[in-house]
């Protein structure tokens, strides 16, 4: 039941302001955005759980997280390369 999926807001439904059209990998569904304290705008990413947006994805934090993970990956790759290079001698 912890199934939460990231989705991108594509449209706020003007007729029903508590609903927004959300896209997940080309698939679209109307999601209730009533639990968010700030109205999202198209282009925002949100976490979807059983038809509701639970939280807005903080893009800055997401980027920082990925940069960190990438740096670990890079450091590891560098180390492995160094290991390989030293083995060649």
């Amino acid at each position: 039941m912890c199934l939460g999926i990231p989705g991108e807001i594509v449209e706020i439904l003007t007729a029903r302001p508590d609903l927004a059209m959300v896209d997940v990998s080309g698939v679209q569904r109307a999601i209730n955005i009533g639990l968010l304290d700030e109205v999202p705008v198209p282009g925002d990413w949100i976490l979807i759980h059983v038809g509701f947006a639970l939280s807005k994805i903080d893009e800055a934090e997401a980027k920082a997280a990925l940069d960190f993970l990438e740096s670990i990956g890079q450091a590891y790759a560098d180390e492995m390369a160094a290991l390989q290079a030293s083995a060649i001698d």
């Binding site: 997940v24 990998s25 569904r29 109307a30």
Partner: protein, 369 residues
């Protein structure tokens, strides 16, 4: 484990966990029984419950050599001519969906069961069960679809039947089709013919049909630009058999999806099948819908895709042959057959870990075909 067993040269000392796994393995191989008193939707899902039902009731009652292999079609010899014979029923809801309708499924499904058995499909029967109140215009539409699909598949509707049941039964329209075809003498296929070293291929992206139908029901309020993949496979299969002599087995991945087919092959051949998650083709929309709903595309029905097991040395030739056909544009080598542990299907996750892919339990997508 006795002392002598434990110190037998070559016998690895089993951990407690391995003992438990062995015990479970023995239980899984035990005779199938149906414990339920009433039929549930699981019995129609194509997974474990369906299998148990078939083995415990139908195979028990109808047992004969032609039925026992439980392949997609029965194969037998009459006066020197090898025939394939199959039947399928279609109870899809809704009747009309993006990419096709129940009529298309009814023809393609049976054509495909014959094709993957190595037969050239020739004649179909069409049995219709109609609900009182069903619009004649819809019936006309379905009949036209059947005609178009039969023409495209080069088969003829040679015989049929019609029944009408009271309002409230048959959900509009149920269709049963049976089909017969001829197999060339040099074609030998079977789910029990996979051997270590073989390659496993799929003819295109998986899960399109099941997801399309689920979304078309309108209950989930999900919109996607996705059509069913229903299609006749006789052309692409014939092409494969002509170009690649080392085809061991083929199955179309309908109810229960690719995962079910792989498990059936692993079980029948007593081998392990290892597939790579990253190699399995899945459309973005199918992936998205499955992620939202928590369903695994490997278990979702297709109606125009098949799995082929071929001699490992001919894998590249096979996949190129498939890709040369319009229906095989997305074909891919998804894995291979190894000896151990037998009857298991293993998945190398994109993440780099391993897990098993077991037979479906329950019924995540009721009435897809």
């Amino acid at each position: 484990m006795t002392d002598t067993e434990m110190y037998q040269p070559g016998t690895a000392h089993k951990t407690r966990e391995e003992e438990v796994l062995d015990r479970i393995d023995r239980t899984r191989r035990a005779r199938a029984r149906v414990k339920e008193e009433r039929i549930t939707l699981s019995h129609g899902a194509g997974g474990k419950a369906t299998q148990s039902l078939i083995e415990a009731i139908f195979l028990e009652e109808f047992r004969c050599s032609e039925l026992e292999p439980l392949e997609d079609a029965a194969r037998f010899d009459i006066d020197g001519v090898r025939l394939a014979f199959t039947t399928d029923s279609y109870v899809v809801s809704p009747l009309f969906f993006p990419g096709g309708d129940i009529g298309d499924l009814a023809v393609n499904g049976t054509v495909n069961d014959l094709s993957v058995s190595g037969a050239t499909p020739l004649y179909l029967s069409v049995g219709m069960i109609l609900e009182e109140g069903f619009p004649v215009a819809d019936l006309q539409r379905i009949a036209a679809s059947i005609r178009r699909a039969a023409t495209a598949a080069h088969v003829r509707i040679a015989t049929g039947d019609t029944k009408v049941v009271q309002r409230g039964k048959a959900d509009g329209c149920y269709i049963n089709t049976a089909g017969v075809g001829v197999i060339r003498h040099d074609i030998v296929l079977g789910a029990d013919r996979a051997r270590p070293g073989d390659a496993v291929l799929v003819s295109g992206p998986i899960g399109d049909h099941g997801v399309t139908v689920m979304l078309a029901r309108g209950e989930l309020d999900i919109a996607a630009d996705l059509p069913s993949d229903t299609a006749p496979l006789n052309g692409i299969v014939a092409g494969l058999l002509a170009a690649v002599p080392g085809v061991r087995a083929m199955r179309d991945a309908t109810r229960g999806g690719v995962a079910t087919v792989l498990n059936e092959i692993a079980r029948a051949s007593e081998v392990a099948v290892v597939i790579d998650e990253a190699a399995v083709p899945v459309r973005n929309e199918v992936r998205g819908a499955c992620e939202i709903l928590g369903i695994d595309p490997l278990y979702v029905a297709c109606e125009g895709r098949f799995v082929a097991v071929v001699d490992g040395a001919q894998a590249e030739l096979a996949v190129e042959t498939l890709r040369a056909h319009p229906l095989g544009a997305g074909a891919a080598i998804i894995g291979r057959v190894v000896a151990d542990p037998p009857t298991l299907v293993l998945l190398n996750t994109a993440f780099g870990g391993t897990r098993i892919v077991d037979l479906l339990v329950g019924d995540p997508l009721p009435r897809i075909c």
